[in-house]
Each structure stands twice: as structure tokens, then as C-alpha cells.
């Protein structure tokens, strides 16, 4: 997804032979990167993010903790990780945490961070599931949940508009997006088929244009 993010430009960092991070010289902000955290510190920091970040907009929150508060990664490293987290399939926030944790703590760090980022959300959603299964036959609760549903639909619609705006420019992309929408929403085409039918030719088209421009 081509979503512009605010790039905090920071100086380059030093990388030792093993690829682990070393504290670097002061950056333009005047503060230095801190030494990489221990596994326990990393796990705890991610657990706090997973527990206290509400509303889904996690990238900014993760940036605050990893780049500004703890100074474990530079703004440039963070930007590269965000870009990759968005290109790769899967929820962006989880991808981002796995990438940052791998950089700071290797495979075990990434595994711990994976557990830390999803556990609070899984526990909370169990509570939500319990609430719904207990109260779904109560007329009062049904009214409340339908009322909240209207807000959730509005939020999803707003989010989709901002994504469409930032990633669609020109007639052909809009046509492809519209065709994919009709195929999936109205004609009930499978999402895998939609990606192959509408995504693959577009990717190859862009590749062809880039090659021709380069030649």
C-alpha cells in the first residue's frame, strides 16, 4: 500500500560484523541511539504497546516508543521497516513489530515480540466474544451493539476513503479498483482470484513500463 508516512530523518547507524546494532554517534536531534534492549526489556516494551494502544493506529505509537522514547532504532531504520511491513502481506502492525524485534533481538526477540503484540488483543477479544455470546439475546444489548456497529462502519468507511485517495491516481488504477470491488462485493469472487485477475496483470504492466523507461 502506498501510504506516505512522516519520515524522521536521522543519521546513519553503525552495524558491526554480526549485524547487531551498536550505539552510534549523536544524531541531528542531539540524542544518541541507546544500546539494544535485553530480551526481557523488548518483550515488556512490546507488551505495553499491545496492551495500551487502542484504536488500531499503531504505527505512530510504535515509532514513539522505538525511535523517540527508547531510541532503539533510528528514524531511517524505522521508515524502512514500515515500508516493508506495508508491502508484505499481513497486518502492518504485527509485521512491523516482528521486523523491529528481529533487528534488536534476533529470532528469539522476534518470537517473544510476536507473542507480546498479539496476546493482549487475543485476551481482550475473548472478553468481547464472551460478552456477545452471553448478551446477544438481550434486546437492550442488541440495540447497543447495532448502535456501536454504525460507528464502526463509519470508521471503516473513513479509513477506506483515505486509503483509496492516497493510492489511486489516474483513470486505469481507478478502473481496476472499481472492477475488483464489483467482482468481490457484488459477484462474490474469491479474493485470491481477484488478486490474480486484477493484481497480477497490473504488476506486470508496471514492470514492463519501468523496464521500457530504463531501456
Amino acid at each position: 500500500m502506498v501510504v506516505p508516512i512522516r519520515l524522521m530523518s536521522r543519521g546513519p547507524r553503525k552495524v558491526n560484523e554480526s549485524g547487531a546494532m551498536e550505539p552510534t554517534a549523536p544524531r541531528d536531534s542531539g540524542s544518541a541511539l541507546q544500546a539494544p534492549p535485553s530480551q526481557a526489556e523488548l518483550f515488556w516494551a512490546v507488551l505495553v504497546i499491545g496492551t495500551t494502544c487502542f484504536g488500531g493506529a499503531m504505527t505512530g505509537f510504535i515509532e514513539k516508543v522505538f525511535v523517540h522514547d527508547k531510541a532503539w532504532v533510528s528514524g531511517e531504520e524505522f521508515f524502512v521497516s514500515v515500508e516493508m511491513a506495508r508491502v508484505m502481506p499481513g497486518p502492518n502492525a504485527v509485521n512491523l513489530i516482528v521486523l523491529l524485534a528481529k533487528r534488536l533481538g534476533g529470532a528469539s526477540g522476534a518470537a517473544l515480540a510476536f507473542v507480546a503484540i498479539i496476546s493482549p488483543a487475543i485476551a481482550a477479544n475473548c472478553l468481547m466474544g464472551e460478552l456477545i455470546s452471553r448478551l446477544t439475546y438481550s434486546p437492550a444489548f442488541s440495540n447497543i451493539i447495532v448502535g456501536f456497529g454504525a460507528a464502526a462502519v463509519g470508521l471503516a468507511a473513513g479509513g477506506s476513503v483515505s486509503i483509496v485517495r492516497s493510492s489511486l491516481g489516474g483513470f486505469v488504477p481507478i478502473l481496476i479498483a472499481g472492477a475488483a470491488f464489483v467482482a468481490v462485493a457484488i459477484l462474490h469472487l474469491n479474493v485470491l482470484a481477484a488478486l490474480l485477475i486484477f493484481g497480477l496483470p497490473t504488476v506486470l504492466g508496471y514492470l514492463y513500463m519501468a523496464r521500457r523507461r530504463a531501456a
Binding site: V87, I132, G149, V184, N190, V191, T202, G205
Partner: protein
């Protein structure tokens, strides 16, 4: 037990299709859990999605609520972990190649080429939510809630208010509409 395995495999497969982030497969998640596996009703789907917005952490973890509905805590873990484990392993492995890959034409072509189709898929997800919502209300209340949804969408676009607060505030107004 078979439910737990089924939940894990279903969500693991879905996660690999989520090329535009978790919201791009919302329509497919709904179709799979409601129409194909008959795990939950369409109404329960939109209810779990809604309450999932009030949970902390990644918003796509509403799938754990679906898993919980099907098979308790084991089902929640199977669905939640299944939904992010394959993609996490993929991103972990791919990270080693990313620096060489990120400047290539292939990477830009994939990024640019998938943006239109994932935009369409994300809007299809919103359409699925709207259909589920519309099936639960009739008449003037539906109109009032639609106005509320549009208002929340505009506020979400124009301001930087935390989405959780928008759900709480909008939900309070929506509940009032339903009771009056």
C-alpha cells in the same frame, strides 16, 4: 478439536491474501466464517468486528473473537495466531533480502500494481460491513444510523481523534437512536 484445526488453517490461508493489510480481506473473512463454514451469523460477525475496535493492539485481532465464539479460548488462540503467524514468518525471512530488493523494479511494480486491487478489496470489506449492518435495522432508524456512519467517516477523515473514542462516542449516539 477439528474446529481448532479448521480455524487455524482457515485464518492462516486468509492471512497470506492480506496484501494490503488486514482490512483488504474483510469481505473474504466474512464469507468464509459466515457462508462457507457457518461458524457465526452475519450479525455476530459485525458485532465481533465492532467490539474488536475497542480491544487494544492490532485491530485485525477481531478474528480471535470469532475463534472464541466457535471454540472458546483455544479457538481464539487458533484463529488469532493463525491469522498472523504465516505472514510473520514470511516477513521475518524476507527481511534478510529486503535491502537488496527494495531498490528493484520488481518491488516498485508490486507495490504500485497491487495498490488498485487492494483499494477495491478494502472498499468491498466496507460493503460487507454495511450489508451486515443493514440486515439488522429497518426504516427510519436505518436512515438515522446511516447519517451517523457518514458523520463518523467524515470526522475520522478530517480529524485525528483516536478511533476508539469515535467508536465510544458514535456508539453512544447510535445506541440512543436505537432506544428512542
Amino acid at each position: 478439536m477439528s474446529d481448532i484445526v479448521g480455524l487455524f488453517l482457515t485464518f492462516a490461508g486468509l492471512s497470506l491474501l492480506a496484501v494490503g493489510g488486514g482490512d483488504s480481506i474483510l469481505a473474504q473473512v466474512e464469507r468464509d466464517v459466515v457462508d462457507r463454514h457457518h461458524w457465526i451469523t452475519q450479525a455476530a460477525f459485525v458485532h465481533l468486528y465492532t467490539l474488536g475496535k475497542l480491544a487494544p493492539g492490532p485491530s485485525t485481532m477481531y478474528v480471535a473473537g470469532i475463534g472464541f465464539f466457535v471454540d472458546g479460548i483455544g479457538g481464539a488462540i487458533a484463529a488469532g495466531v493463525g491469522f498472523v503467524l504465516p505472514t510473520s514468518i514470511l516477513v521475518f525471512v524476507a527481511e534478510s533480502f529486503w535491502q537488496q530488493w527494495r531498490g528493484t523494479q520488481w518491488k516498485s511494480a508490486i507495490q504500485l500494481g497491487l495498490a488498485p486491487v487492494t483499494s477495491g478489496l478494502i472498499v468491498a470489506g466496507v460493503f460487507a460491513l454495511v450489508s451486515a449492518q443493514v440486515s439488522q435495522v429497518q426504516g427510519w432508524k436505518l436512515v438515522e444510523l446511516a447519517v451517523l456512519s457518514i458523520y463518523i467517516a467524515v470526522v475520522a477523515l478530517r480529524t485525528r481523534i483516536n478511533p476508539a473514542f469515535l467508536i465510544l462516542g458514535g456508539g453512544a449516539v447510535g445506541s440512543l437512536v436505537m432506544f428512542v
